[in-house]
Subunit: 215 residues, 2 copies
């Protein structure tokens, strides 16, 4: 059985957006069972760093393999299940390029905007970051105008990643004027596998609160 490792607890704000949602969602789409283990958020440990040198989550254990980086985990699960990625070389290459487009051409810009807006609360820097984010979102919108999924004409791990990136922007009001992207997010996150993964993550934090209250 797979093991998804996430934090033992997080504050209210990131709940529902912690990146363990990515392997959870992929596992649900593929019908793969997994258990959840935790690492402490507040006192990072050597054991955590040994699995994830940047002290982040998620981490996936699959047999002898321990894999960090949500993008690498999605690729691994894609290789494990045809529900998440086609098997032909062309379809795999398309899935890979769109997975990496999400990680390196879209998310750095969306994260820059969210850091400026939500964490730094700087109107000036939010505008600077928005000027960098908007062209990338516009290009992505142009692609999704003519197709339902990013790669290979079907659902792949690239869509799970991109929809997760974009829903964070949507939650902060950053998809205004880009209805194609709003509809893409709405359609992907309406999938039963996402709803289950999201509910399970929220239940994990609720259980953490209950455990702390009892301690």
């Amino acid at each position: 059985m797979l093991t998804v490792i996430t934090y033992d607890w997080v504050p209210e704000m990131p709940r529902g957006f912690v990146r363990d949602i990515r392997p959870r969602w992929a596992a649900e789409e593929a019908g793969l069972a997994y258990r959840v283990e935790t690492v402490p958020l507040r006192q990072k440990t050597d054991a955590h760093r040994a699995m994830q040198p940047f002290e982040q989550v998620p981490i996936l254990k699959d047999g002898d393999l321990t894999i960090f980086e949500s993008g690498a985990i999605l690729w691994h699960l894609g290789e494990s299940s045809e529900a998440l990625m086609p098997r032909d070389p062309g379809g795999r290459a398309e899935t890979m390029e769109w997975l990496i487009a999400g990680l390196n051409s879209v998310e750095p810009m969306t994260m820059g905007w969210i850091l400026a807006k939500v964490f730094d609360r700087s109107a000036e820097q939010t505008e600077v970051a928005a000027r960098r984010m908007r062209p990338r979102l516009a290009h992505l919108s142009a692609v999704l105008e003519s197709r339902a999924f990013l790669a290979a004409g079907r659902l792949t791990v690239a869509d799970l990643l991109m929809a997760d990136i974009l829903r964070t922007v949507e939650a902060q009001g950053g998809l205004g004027g880009l209805p194609v992207l709003s509809e893409y997010v709405a359609r992907l996150t309406a999938r039963p596998a996402f709803r289950k993964a999201h509910a399970d993550q929220m239940a994990h934090w609720a259980a953490a609160d209950a455990r702390e209250a009892a301690a």
Copy 2:
């Protein structure tokens, strides 16, 4: 034969750092021949967008496949040549996680710092970005203290990517106090394959200047 697509011309500043250096370097390490084709930088075309929806470079053509995103191209070349990636599942998973760590856990922070310092020329924002970049670089330094390569105990495409990310930071004075990372960059970029790739990129821009001067 492979085809690497890059811009027809770029200004002085990015020369030597345009991301076609990544497939060029990988091809040299693997002894793979390639030709170079170009897309216009100044007047982006539909033909370019059809291959690269974000209007960036590089793009790789390999037989029937056309692949964008330098990270996806590196992975594809890694799958094509054992000189760039081991064949066992554990070694492949390690290469993948470190490739993606470079693309999603390191480069977004280094790029944020470079944008603030070089493009926005804002001392305040450079300091904000440095506070986000430094912990990632420190974690990476801790990893490279005890090993020569990131993944699988040998050179992989993950090293080519990470060294290329870090040399951009080094060029702007951002690796001060992190001698492990400076030494890693120096060691990787001293490789004949990198020197060749870098010289070939610089020669490409020189030829572009000569062509424009003659026009």
